[in-house]
């Protein structure tokens, strides 16, 4: 892997490079402690992982320095997300970074500030809930409505299903329809009267999901009023990119494990990795993964440098990364033969993630259409 790492990290700064090394070591260490969440309780390991991330400030790297965070960019966010994805760690990194973006980009600065500080100080687990299917802050999908009482307080009604990384959230940001046809961002702090949280076991055993039901739940409105679709998209494509980095990490893990296996597994007197049938397919999966990783970093740099084509590159990176993970997971299982099909070997977790993660925020075909529309063709 060394030749590759040198080539790929050329554009990263020394600090970013160090961050990747540290994140990789950390995830490897946490992964050892984790055990199998399907068999036991992943909660303790997950909590420990989050505490460690919070100590490093990475839990709040998306929070600006003025609010007590590290104020790091998308490149750093993607570096951390990739390593978390590599280790399939059950941490709410996606939801907390998305929450920070929603607060920063969509909410009244005076109201956002204390929430951002809470994330920074406690490594708080703020999650974003919206939509009827997985996490879909796209305004078309809002199935929660907000009603305003005479005294000016707001109450939420409706449901949000299959929200990722939100089951243990201390703060919940909810996109809800307001009377005038617009959408608002509301805060609920569980446990709250009228709020039902029901964990759901999806195919992806390493990322928690939950259904939320709101029955006259008191909530505070945080947005600036009439949330702008463009701002929502800014938050959304940052999250798409975070998911892309997570997928790249998973794909890399699949490839690394498979390379190790085919190099030491002998059949017909030779390591099976010496057969071109395997070599060429693995090399192709590598090209798919590496090129996806490059695009993730390109998109992250575009956002950090405020260039044009941020959204296009982020969506494109997500498309590339999603298919790379699927390919790498498939090939990993295939090239491990019968062992690949066992529960114990655990490769199925990557395959599971490839299927479920592909549908978070958007589906593959939605992304393809969206990229074309954003490109103006």
């Amino acid at each position: 892997m060394t030749a590759y790492e040198t080539a790929s990290d050329a554009i990263l700064s020394a600090q970013q490079h160090d961050m990747r090394t540290l994140a990789r070591d950390l995830v490897a260490q946490l992964g050892q402690e984790r055990g199998d969440p399907a068999a036991g309780d992943p909660g303790a390991a997950a909590a420990r992982g989050w505490d460690t991330l919070a100590e490093l400030g990475w839990a709040s790297l998306a929070v600006g320095e003025a609010d007590g965070g590290l104020g790091l960019g998308m490149v750093e966010r993607c570096i951390v997300a990739e390593e978390i994805g590599r280790g399939l760690l059950p941490l709410p990194f996606l939801s907390v970074t998305l929450a920070a973006d929603v607060l920063r980009l969509l909410c009244r600065p005076d109201l956002a500030r204390s929430r951002l500080r809470r994330i920074a100080e406690a490594g708080g687990k703020t999650a974003v809930a919206a939509g009827t299917r997985l996490l879909a802050p796209g305004l078309d999908h809002v199935a929660v409505s907000a009603a305003r009482a005479h005294d000016g307080t707001w109450a939420l009604n409706g449901s949000a299903s299959l929200v990722p990384e939100a089951a243990g959230a201390s703060d919940l940001l909810v996109f809800a329809a307001v009377g005038d046809g617009g959408t608002g961002v509301f805060e609920v702090r569980p446990p709250a009267p009228g709020l039902a949280v029901c964990p759901v076991r999806t195919l992806d055993l390493r990322r928690d999901f939950a259904d939320f039901t709101f029955t006259a739940v008191a909530a505070e409105r945080l947005d600036t009023g009439g949330t702008a679709p463009a701002a929502v998209r800014h938050a959304e494509y940052r999250a798409e990119l975070t998911l892309a980095a997570d997928a790249v990490g998973g794909a890399l893990a699949c490839l690394e494990r498979t390379i190790a296996h085919v190099s030491t597994r002998y059949q017909f007197g030779s390591p099976i990795g010496s057969f071109q049938a395997i070599k060429h397919r693995l090399a192709r999966a590598w090209v798919a993964t590496e090129s996806a990783r490059e695009l993730v970093l390109a998109a992250a740099a575009a956002i950090d440098d405020s260039t044009a084509f941020q959204e296009e590159l982020a969506i494109a990176a997500r498309i590339s990364a999603s298919s790379a993970l699927r390919l790498a997971a498939d090939e990993a299982i295939q090239f491990h033969g019968g062992m690949g099909f066992t529960w114990e070997l655990g490769l199925h977790h990557y395959f599971r993630r490839s299927f479920v993660a592909d549908q978070i925020l958007s589906t593959g075909s939605q992304r393809n259409t969206r990229l074309a529309s954003t490109l103006g063709v």
Binding site: M1, A3, Y4, T6, A7, S8, A10, I11, L255, I259, V262, S263, S270, P271, G273, S274, Q276, I278, K279, H280, L282, A283, R284, W286, V287, E290, S291, A292, E294, L295, L297, A298, A301, A302, D305, T307, A308, F309, Q310, E312, L313, A316, I319, S320, N368, T369, L371, A372, L375, G376, V377
Partner: protein
């Protein structure tokens, strides 16, 4: 939409994607070259014969040379600009945006000249480099043989030392531009040691009785490459590049230039082609496209995404080279990624411009046919995949 209209317009930099901080749109180097191109780029006439095309390209290379823009990567003392990798990256992007024609001596400028700079003697450099850059001397690369393609080290063309110089006999094939070439780099067997170890690299004058050149008609109908027969052809002792028996190292240097070069040069023309097809997409409704509009849009987006991946790869390699690191085997990854993209884009172009795409001898259909070579030359995809598997992933041989 005719090819003539395609070349009339300068393409906006946004066709390439975002302005990159390492090579920004308003970089001084870009602006300077852009300015020169604006005053000097000829529109490409359509319907040229092969010989006319060659003459047109030679003239363009001369214009670049005289303007001081022929070889950005070449050191100043050899007539180049001494540009680093990032300037080269910008150079090729600007050439593409201006829709400049291609030059005649591409392989001389990109592969053979740079190889001479690494392995040649001072005499070689003084004598040959200026002619390569100006295009006055066309060079070709005599590597492959009928029995030695991917397995290059098995080649059998032999050179013996008769005391006065080298005497060469054998056959080369797929030698691009051999029919127009003054000089050839000939990789041949000079020693009795097997395979890689017995080879030397000789520079051979193509204008002599011992050499016969037969153009090979390609599937595209054109004949860019040739068979070259050596029958007791001669070259003096001092035209050996590198030591006797070290020809393989020289050849590998050249192949690395060849693979890396596709990195620097090729994302920009692809993105420009894609940009120009935007118009064809709206025309698609009018009926000349084989793809339904929605399918064409999605295909466009898919190709744009992959072109952006290629651009990032090239940026990465340029940054590496700029920082003094070798691009090395990473070039194989780019090559595999690039070759599929070239083919798919050519097919897309032919599908949405189907009026041209189905007719023989249109630029669009010729491009479709020519694209099939992208996964064969400079090492087939299969060889590149072996290199990736063994030298990047570390899989057993």
């Amino acid at each position: 939409m005719s090819e003539l209209e395609l070349t009339a317009v300068r393409v906006p930099p946004s066709a390439l994607g975002a302005s990159l901080p390492q090579v920004p749109d308003d970089h001084r180097f870009r602006l300077e070259f852009r300015d020169w191109l604006a005053g000097n780029t000829p529109p490409s006439p359509s319907g040229m014969t092969e010989a006319e095309d060659f003459a047109f390209r030679a003239k363009w290379q001369k214009a670049l040379y005289e303007g001081g823009w022929a070889g950005p990567a070449w050191p100043k003392r050899y007539g180049g600009r001494g540009s680093g990798a990032l300037e080269q990256f910008m150079y090729y992007e600007e050439l593409a945006l201006a829709q400049a024609p291609r030059v005649t001596n591409e392989s001389g400028i990109l592969l053979l000249g740079p190889t001479l700079m690494v392995h040649g003697t001072e005499d070689h450099k003084r004598r040959f480099l200026p002619g390569i850059l100006s295009g006055d001397d066309i060079w070709c690369q005599g590597f492959s043989e009928p029995g030695s393609g991917s397995d290059l080290a098995s080649l059998r063309t032999r050179a013996r030392d008769n005391g006065d110089g080298w005497v060469i006999s054998g056959q080369k094939i797929w030698t691009t531009w051999a029919a127009y070439s003054k000089w050839c780099f000939v990789l041949c067997r000079t020693e009795d040691t097997p395979r890689h170890k017995g080879l030397s690299m000789l520079i051979v004058d193509m204008d002599q009785p011992g050499i016969e050149v037969h153009p090979i008609r390609q599937m595209s109908g054109r004949a860019d490459f040739c068979e070259v027969f050596f029958e007791e052809a001669q070259t003096p002792h001092d035209l050996i590049v590198g030591e006797r028996g070290q020809g393989w190292q020289v050849a590998m240097t050249m192949l690395q230039f060849e693979r890396a070069d596709q990195g620097y040069t090729d994302h920009a023309p692809l993105l420009v082609t894609l940009h120009l097809l935007r118009q064809a997409l709206s025309d698609a409704v009018a009926g000349s496209s084989l793809l339904p509009p929605e399918a064409a849009r999605l295909r466009f987006a898919d190709l744009w995404r992959r072109c952006q991946q290629l651009r990032r790869y090239n940026l990465r390699n340029a940054v590496n080279a700029e920082q003094g690191r070798e691009v090395g085997v990473a070039a194989s990854t780019v090559n595999v990624f690039w070759s599929h993209l070239v083919k798919d884009l050519a097919e897309f172009k032919a599908s949405v411009q189907a009026d041209d795409g189905v007719l023989d001898n249109t630029p669009t259909s010729e491009n479709l046919l020519y694209s099939r070579a992208s996964s064969i030359y400079s090492g087939t995809d299969e060889i590149q995949l072996n290199i990736i598997a063994e030298r990047i992933l570390g899989l057993p041989r």
